[in-house]
């Protein structure tokens, strides 16, 4: 019985394959491995999973020779913004190869970037739909932006140029605004993005009251591998941050799901800094406006008060003068009255004295005696005013104008 050597068998397989599968095929598959060798050749592993995504249905090695890679890869990267890497779904043009020593593999001739783009977009849509279904898609967007955005928690890679640009711009703002910035370092590229950024977010949540907002930034490159950020757990973590999240993960063309869940999205780290500076400048302008309103209000109030005082002063300065005038007049009148009254008093006193003198003169007893009246006294000198006071035998002395005469009552 004839037997074949291994080489002969493999060679048979090879020739059958070459005869029956001699064309070029467009293949849709997922990359489970992707590696650029130092010789410039690009080695991948294609897989197909079942509907649950847990079990592998098929697997094949693939190779893109250096010459093809150098032509195709840049086109792909420019179109998608992504490196060819594990986890990516691709549509590739292949020929089927079988080598006696190396076995079955696919020789990659070309890649269709639109398929990968479509798949990435589909994945983003699915994540967003899930976030919406969970009711958290707009949670962060609905947080009010604090008036004071000063204490900034930054998630970035410390070595990234983007972070340096961001800090530099904040430090040298034109308005004298002060920012407290602390870096929460995270891996911003590659398979660890999700885990690393989520750890940084968790660290910030632990002290959320110390921060006004979170800024997630990354410097952009030719290819930025943004799909690292298209992760449901990461997007959900951002959406549920208790303080506003600003993302500037730097890509001109594409978006990530973070752009849809973050409070504010900007293109680049410098744009993120500009956003914070603008916000502070607006607050300073608001303060100046309040200051202007208050100053103007006070000026107005003072002016109004001044006018009231002036009016009062006019009234007041009029009244006393009038009062003084009338008081003066009264004094004059009183003086006149006093003068006249004094004069009258003097005159009437004079008359009175004259009258009195006349009356006194009339009362002089000597005059009465000369006119024939007399005064009669008892022996003990009492003036007799009534006949009843006298008794027979009383001795009387009668005074006349020119002398006295003594007599006896009979």
């Amino acid at each position: 019985m004839d037997s074949l050597s291994l080489f002969e068998l493999n060679n048979l397989v090879r020739s059958v394959l070459e005869q029956t599968l001699d064309g070029e095929y467009w293949l849709e598959a997922e990359l489970s491995e992707a590696r650029l060798a130092t010789n410039g050749h690009f080695y991948v592993e294609f897989i197909q999973k079942d509907a649950s995504g847990r079990n592998l249905l098929a697997k094949a090695r693939g190779t893109m020779w250096a010459r093809t890679y150098s032509l195709v890869a840049p086109l792909f990267e420019r179109a998608t913004g992504e490196h060819l890497r594990a986890g990516m779904k691709v549509r590739v043009q292949v020929t089927v190869e079988f080598h006696e020593l190396y076995g079955y593999s696919l020789n990659i001739l070309n890649i269709d970037p639109s398929y990968t783009l479509g798949d990435m977009a589909k994945r983003r849509r699915e994540i967003l739909a899930q976030l919406e279904a969970d009711g958290i898609l707009e949670d962060n967007q609905q947080l009010p932006l604090p008036s004071l955005l000063k204490r900034i928690a930054v998630i970035s890679s410390s070595s990234a140029a983007g972070y340096g640009d961001f800090c530099n711009q904040l430090d040298h703002n034109d308005y004298g605004l002060f920012f407290d910035v602390r870096l929460f370092p995270a891996v911003m590229q590659g398979a660890n993005v999700e885990e690393s950024v989520m750890a940084a977010l968790a660290a910030i949540v632990d002290e959320a009251e110390r921060w006004d907002c979170v800024v997630i930034i990354r410097g952009g490159g030719a290819t930025s591998d943004l799909s690292d950020f298209d992760s449901y757990p990461l997007a959900a973590a951002v959406a549920q941050m208790p303080i506003p999240v600003i993302v500037g993960i730097g890509h001109e063309r594409d978006e990530t799901v973070l752009d849809f869940v973050a409070h504010t999205r900007v293109k680049t780290p410098t744009a993120a800094a500009a956003f914070l500076i603008d916000h502070g400048a607006q607050e300073l302008a608001r303060l100046e406006e309040q200051q202007r309103r208050i100053t103007q209000g006070v000026a107005l109030l003072c002016e109004r008060q001044q006018r009231r005082l002036e009016q009062l002063a006019v009234h007041l300065s009029g009244a006393p003068r009038q009062r003084l005038l009338s008081e003066g007049h009264r004094v004059d009148l009183l003086q006149n009255r006093l003068r006249q009254s004094a004069k009258f008093q003097v005159e009437s006193s004079k008359l009175k004295v004259q009258g009195l003198a006349a009356r006194l003169a009339a009362l002089d007893p000597a005059l009465q005696l000369r006119r024939g009246f007399s005064l009669t006294y008892t022996s003990d000198g009492q003036l007799i005013r009534s006949a009843a006071d006298l008794h027979p035998g009383d001795r009387l002395t009668t005074r006349l104008a020119d002398g006295s005469v003594t007599s006896e009552v009979i």
Binding site: R182, I294, Q305
Partner: protein, 63 residues
């Protein structure tokens, strides 16, 4: 208002109220000086918040 509990937002709201009062002339002249002083303190407080380092944060950063 205590310095401890005063926040930027609260200070801004108070400034807005004061500005309205001043504009509408709704301030007794006896209170004008007091209110103006308060407004000036609030303005300084807010401006410092925007342009100066908080001692509290500085302490945290030094930790």
């Amino acid at each position: 208002m205590e310095e401890k509990t005063l926040t930027y937002e609260v200070a801004m709201e108070r400034l807005e109220t004061l500005a309205k009062e001043m504009e509408t002339g709704d301030v007794a002249i006896d209170q004008l000086a007091t209110k103006l002083k308060e407004a000036q303190q609030l303005l300084t407080f807010c401006k410092d918040k925007l342009t100066k380092a908080d001692e509290e944060v500085q302490k945290l950063l030094a930790e």
